[in-house]
Symmetry: C2
């Protein structure tokens, strides 16, 4: 459809605030019972890592299930050792006063302690000598000291981890009841789409959103499937939507690059079901569509990758955790100082991707390249900050909260170079990462002067600079003096 | 084998310090070329999450690959808009001065900016009016603004994440070359072992270590397989080892509960290959055996679960990352204050599992139930602290570094109740976790007085106490007065 043909159409979406959009949609999904699905399955604990327990898990047997010897040696009654000394040893007779035990053997009835074989002296074929008294329950694993059946092992809604498998196994469980992951179906739309691996012509776009989003929802515990792309044709989209909704729990229509395709999605969703929200005051991601068809959540997701990511995190992730009946694990957050001023439009909540480095005891956050269509800056970012709708941006030096998408330990090993960029830095970055130290080098391109300023303010570890002083014909010296008057500078040739 | 038959055997292992053991083993593996394996495979980016890139990944095409319109509207030369105002609009003619474009369309040759359709006025069939000047490249995605081929996307050795798939797709990659994960084979040993799901008789033990360890090594990027358990018989172990070493890259013999089985492992390993280290001064896990057979790493791992976990983390994990040629991602670490005194033997590095809660601005760490055989405390722990070999333990109130096995965000939502335990607390904990708040309640059983003391020192949020004052016949009042003299107390009936 040419935009000219559609010239009179109202292109303005009524963007509503994020919290209102989330609440409205959540209430709608509750109203239509979309999250009530309660399917569970019983699976082997071998396959349970990452799955969500559908009910509390209790121990079947105690661990240890009988009192056992923790050592190879002899079982005795501790009273029979009392008073033994180096010079006045006590002699014990096999059977009545001691019995031989291996590690893991039950401690025989009537005995309560174990003496290690290396602490014994043999006296005769069936007699031993001990020269030290023994504490009650020495070298003994008391029944249920680890797990006392039916002790609670996992709560309902727990995401099972590798570290949980030991106690499940020890408590006699071979399988566990888990929630069945929701099936998320993605429908990419857009006549301009070509598959990954194909070379796009002018005006064509590689369809990688479905791969990217599938991987994301699988991280969150869902199952993903992808339909063949649908051209920009409302009838075809309607057919695809009706066909796909049958087999999935959540349907996501990924918009093509054309604004028109979003309008198709909205009108097709409205025809087949309900559109609850069209347009949210967020950046990126504002043209998102939230609705339902046949009692199932349907999301119209913007096609720009960064918009798709933001809307997936804000709207799709909570639905997946709702199906899984599990609390979402919130990533680590780091208080940081903004290393650069960032302007942001009033009235929109902005989700800004940043890199973070620890400089002089503070974490410094710098924005990555902004834009809804960016992908490399997603990959390079360390996390996201939220700029509230009622803010015009963030001042340099103000405190922000970064929600990390990396381990804090990686951020802690980061060197931040600010200033003029050079390809040599990329090569250095690569060498450093691969070195045993695992140091990451990130660079913030703010020009030569910006780099010196960043260094002087404690916003960078290193500054890249090549400033020519036209009076002297020398590089950098006068600029360093001017911008960093209080620093001692050493010069290396 | 009965311990009596073996009475004269030397049971003392020569435990060597951890760092020396790790270095010795690493050097041995380098000497025999055990980590030189360089197999790679090419896989679809769809399947690449969690895999390790075997070489640097560069962009095949730029993104966008041509300069495109970011909006539906018209492409113009920005110069032709200069001077336009509300009162003195500029009229442009289609073809020479503007062309209609859709979002994603290439910006036609000779044009550089786009005006959104909603900012236009139509004047005639092929004329528009504009009333504002336009900035160069307005609403245009410049060629390569996201990715400039052949820009570096991933470094060699990078662990590929879902967030990386967008830039891989945008840069025209459909597949990626990755290292083939090492195959780790586990051989459980011990005549006393029964399978999970079976009810163990007295003296029998459920074999769950192989399941637990398989899940762990898969978390670390390896492939796991498990052989049927081998009885305590050196000949059978020798056969199993020779048979298994063929198909795997790393072999792990899991000791049964009997100390004897460790000796079989050591002697069989020495016979078939080399034993480099037998016994390391760590707790738990000191009887670990590090060696090689047929040029491949072989580890004899203690059978107690907590020992197995510690030795897997210390010795197996680095080998796996060595094969993967990737830096291990170190988990998050938290500086905490020890809430309880912990004694630890001199001469051994102890790895102590702890729970952590934020109390009054400090993180407070309390030990979980110690012991090599414990499993539930592994699952319940939030992380591990290392007590150095030259330390007799940790004083209450001293600073420790906790290596977390949970997200910090989970720890941040933790309420710590200290003192006298009650089953009602378990029920409350369960309710809280499942509530939307996601608050975790952990309890540290230190008795009623211990709880009041912990509260007074800022080591707990809540204290559980039921102390009877025998003089007055009242509970708690006098104890609270005595142990918390400086706190205002309010009483609820």
């Amino acid at each position: 459809m040419s935009p000219q043909a559609d010239f009179e159409r109202n292109y303005f979406l009524k963007d509503i605030p994020l919290q209102i959009a989330q609440d409205k949609y959540q209430n709608h999904l509750l109203d239509i019972g979309a999250l009530l699905k309660k399917e569970t399955e019983i699976i082997s604990i071998k396959d349970s890592v990452g799955r969500v327990s559908s009910q509390a898990v209790f121990a079947k047997i105690s661990s240890p299930h009988v009192t056992t010897s923790a050592m190879d040696g002899v079982a005795i009654k501790y009273e029979s050792s009392l008073g033994a000394t180096e010079t006045r040893p006590i002699k014990l007779i096999e059977g009545s006063a001691f019995l031989w035990v291996d590690t893991g053997d039950p401690v025989p009835e009537g005995f309560d302690s174990v003496i290690m074989i290396e602490d014994l002296e043999k006296y005769s074929a069936n007699e031993i000598i001990i020269r030290n008294p023994v504490a009650p329950y020495q070298h003994v694993r008391k029944i249920a000291e680890d797990i006392a059946a039916p002790e609670l092992l996992l709560q309902q809604g727990a995401i099972i981890r590798s570290l949980d498998l030991a106690c499940l196994g020890a408590a006699g469980l071979s399988d566990v009841k888990v929630n069945i992951p929701p099936k998320v179906c993605f429908i990419p739309t857009g006549t301009e789409l070509v598959k990954i691996g194909e070379t796009p012509g002018p005006g064509q776009i590689i369809e990688f959103n479905s791969i990217f989003l599938s991987a994301l929802v699988e991280d969150w515990g869902a199952e993903a499937s992808v339909r063949n792309p649908v051209s920009d044709d409302p009838t075809l989209l309607e057919q695809a939507l009706l066909h796909s909704i049958i087999d999935c729990d959540i349907l996501v229509v990924i918009a093509g690059s054309s604004a028109g395709s979003e309008d198709f999605t909205s009108s097709v969703m409205a025809k087949l079901g309900e559109v609850i929200v069209h347009g949210v005051a967020i950046r990126p991601g504002h043209p998102v569509i939230l609705g339902s068809v046949s009692g199932k959540p349907v999301i119209g997701m913007p096609g720009y990758p960064s918009s798709a990511l933001t809307t997936a995190e804000l709207f799709l992730k909570p639905i997946i955790y709702g199906f899984l009946k599990s609390n979402e694990i919130v990533p680590d957050q780091i208080k940081s100082v903004m290393g650069k001023k960032v302007a942001s439009p009033l009235g929109e909540e902005e989700f800004l991707r940043v890199v973070v480095a620890p400089v002089n005891g503070d974490y410094i956050a710098n924005p990555t390249t902004r834009g809804a269509a960016m992908t490399l800056s997603i990959s390079k970012s360390d996390g996201v900050i939220k700029i509230p709708a009622n803010s015009e941006g963030i001042e340099e030096g103000s405190t922000v909260l970064v929600t990390l998408n990396r381990q804090r330990s990686e951020v802690n090993k980061t060197l931040l170079i600010s200033g003029s960029h050079d390809i040599a830095l990329d090569i250095l970055a690569s060498e450093l990462t691969f070195a045993e130290s695992g140091v990451r080098l990130i660079s913030s391109s703010v020009g030569s002067v910006g780099g010196l300023l960043a260094l002087s303010k404690g916003y960078a570890h290193i500054a890249g600079s090549h400033l020519l002083d036209e009076e002297t014909g020398e590089y950098n010296f006068s600029a360093v003096k001017r911008h960093m008057p209080n620093e001692k500078v050493r010069i290396y040739d």
